[in-house]
């Protein structure tokens, strides 16, 4: 069974701080997605990374896919209260035609 471990589980920071959350596995994935989920809503796709070493930026969010395609990180610069939510990573198994594997998420709270 492929697993994705996310860390930290919980993070509470002040507005304006920087933070990094991690998504790690011992398995290789063909691609990896990051989602954000706000309370009472479904997850919303933020980004997909496909190539080992790939870096994608979405405003103040920077996503990186590990060289070996086993891990990923999400860095937020100058966090704002609107960044508050549950961040989920999901990996697409190499085996193909298999559902995504989801991590349990990092719950971020940004305090004004």
């Amino acid at each position: 069974t492929q697993l994705l471990e996310q860390s930290p589980q919980f993070l509470s920071i002040q507005e304006g701080e920087n933070l990094t959350v991690y998504c790690n596995s011992s398995s290789v994935f063909s691609s990896l997605q990051w989602y954000r989920q706000e309370p009472g809503e479904g997850p919303v796709l933020l980004v997909t990374v496909v190539t080992g070493g790939e870096v994608k930026k979405l405003k103040r969010l920077t996503f990186q896919f590990g060289d070996a395609r086993k891990d990923s990180s999400l860095h937020i610069t100058a966090a704002q209260p609107g960044d508050t939510g549950l961040y989920l990573c999901a990996g697409n198994p190499i085996s193909g035609n298999t559902p995504l594997v989801f991590g349990k998420g990092t719950r971020l709270s940004v305090i004004a």
Partner: protein, 111 residues
């Protein structure tokens, strides 16, 4: 703009009742999924479907069944609701096995 809708945002049912949760997507996606989400346990896959009239068991199918008679609609059925099925239920669809689009969720309480 992609859209996945779920029939109810909140639902309260009694133990033993049969419960239907409906999901509709307007993106012509082949793949549809049902998850439940519980604190500390993350998203757990219940059932999925890669085509009309096809279904596959996910990680926790016990106590649930599904129906996919039309491409755009995927229904989750709780044959006899129990209190341990109180949860947030999320439906998703995708074109391939990646980049799933989620509905807003149904928060089900079984009393």
């Amino acid at each position: 703009d992609v859209k996945v809708t779920q029939s109810s945002r909140y639902l309260v049912k009694r133990t033993g009742e049969k419960v239907f949760l409906e999901c509709v997507q307007d993106m012509d996606h082949e793949n549809m999924f049902w998850y439940r989400q519980d604190p500390g346990l993350g998203l757990r896959l219940i059932y999925f479907s890669y085509d009309v009239k096809m279904k596959e068991k996910g990680d926790i199918p016990e106590g649930y069944s599904v129906s996919r008679e039309k491409k755009e609609r995927f229904s989750l059925i709780l044959e006899s609701a129990s209190t341990n099925q109180t949860s947030m239920y999320l439906c998703a669809s995708s074109f391939a096995t990646v980049e799933q689009y989620f509905g807003p969720g149904t928060r089900l309480t079984v009393t």
